[in-house]
Amino acid sequence: MIQFNNVNKWYGEYQALADVTETIAKGEVVVVCGPSGSGKSTLIRTINRLEAIDSGTITVDGEDIHRRGLDVNRLRSRIGFVFQQFNLFPHLTVLQNCTLAPVALGGARPAQAHHKAMALLDRVGLAHKATAWPSELSGGQQQRVAIARALAMEPPLMLFDEPTSALDPEMVGEVLQVMQGLVRDGMTLVVVTHEMGFARDVAHRVLFMDQGRILERAEPHEFFNHPQHPRAQQFLADIRTPFAHAA
């Protein structure tokens, strides 16, 4: 479904992605983790061209996404993206947030889009909030609406960029549950997250990144119990005993 081939990206002197080569299969659920600044957000933002790359190729569904003449809007409408900051449109109601793209992009009649959006809101448990403004919702609810909005274009692939990092702890669960539902439906998910529980229980594969490189790729069980790379071992030790250094 997604293929990275020797992808490099620089921010000036700083190399954000270094020779990334990786294949993500259709229906696979991949968690990307690593310390901050490791390039994991940059990595998933390159998949829908929110970030440009300096060399290498990325293909989605067999199509080079940097091909000349590619319709980038069409590409993006086929890839759902969920942000850390939710980024709901504050001037639109919850329902309008979910119908904007389907109607504006010409695919759907308003009534049809409305109907589908209500079904999606129901799926994330927020049908009763359809007429509310985003500012009236909790963080967890906003993020669930953001997921419904991303699903409205019926993308076969969903990308999550730290979807629970801006949430109060008690709201993390409701968002993860919605994501788990997508996994059950067989969607392809790439998730950048610090939620190691989600990685362990839901992911098919974990990628560990540091300094722009994928240092380790393993099944969750393998990754958590027998990390191979010293940086991965260190990372796991740090998140398990966060106060070890202070002592």
Partner: protein, 245 residues
Amino acid sequence: MIDLIHTYWLYFLVGQYPNGPLGGLALTVLLAALALLLALPIGLVLGLARVSPFRAIRWPVTALVHVVRGIPLLMVIFWAYFFLPSVTGHQTGQFSTMLMALVVFDGVYLAEIVRAGIRGVPRGQFEAARTLGLGYGRAMQRVILPQALRSMLPSLVNQFVSTIKETSLGYIIGLTEVSFIAAQINTQVFTHATQVYLLLALTYFVLCFGLSRIAHLLERRLARRAPTRVARPSVVVPLANESNA
């Protein structure tokens, strides 16, 4: 003062109309309203050009903005009054000259307000719109501008109030707007300068203050209809995604 008003109120309001050209307060209001009406779309287009990703669009408009902002309105009026006719070959009337000068001047100031409004919308809004597959224009039209315009409202009103007051500079090219009429009245009654100009000041004040109040009410109604602020995330995170890879 009562005498003064009694004798000159009609002259003050409409000039010599209907026996001569329209003037006075009516002309001032007409000029300001037309200037705003024409400057608004121009300001919007120039403002969009100012944030355009294309240099070929951005640079000339940026240059224009800096030039116009760097000269007083009075200069723009002189240019429109003396320079334009020498180029085009025919003399434009005082009203259209003043209108052109105001539209150019206010268009540029409105462009800066539009630009600031667009820049004030969080970057994530644009990214979210693009991620859904909306193109640049659609993202602007459906997501960015509706939010930007709302936050621009106070600055817009400010600019509109300025425009009303700027019309008084028409005096300098003999446009018979309300300041000019007041000066005329003053030369006729001769000894009542304080009263005449007090009345003039009061007139401008009522116009501008009234507009501010209306705008204020409008703003409150908009705020009630759709709260603009999205609940803050509970964790403070760096805003720039770029550095936070």
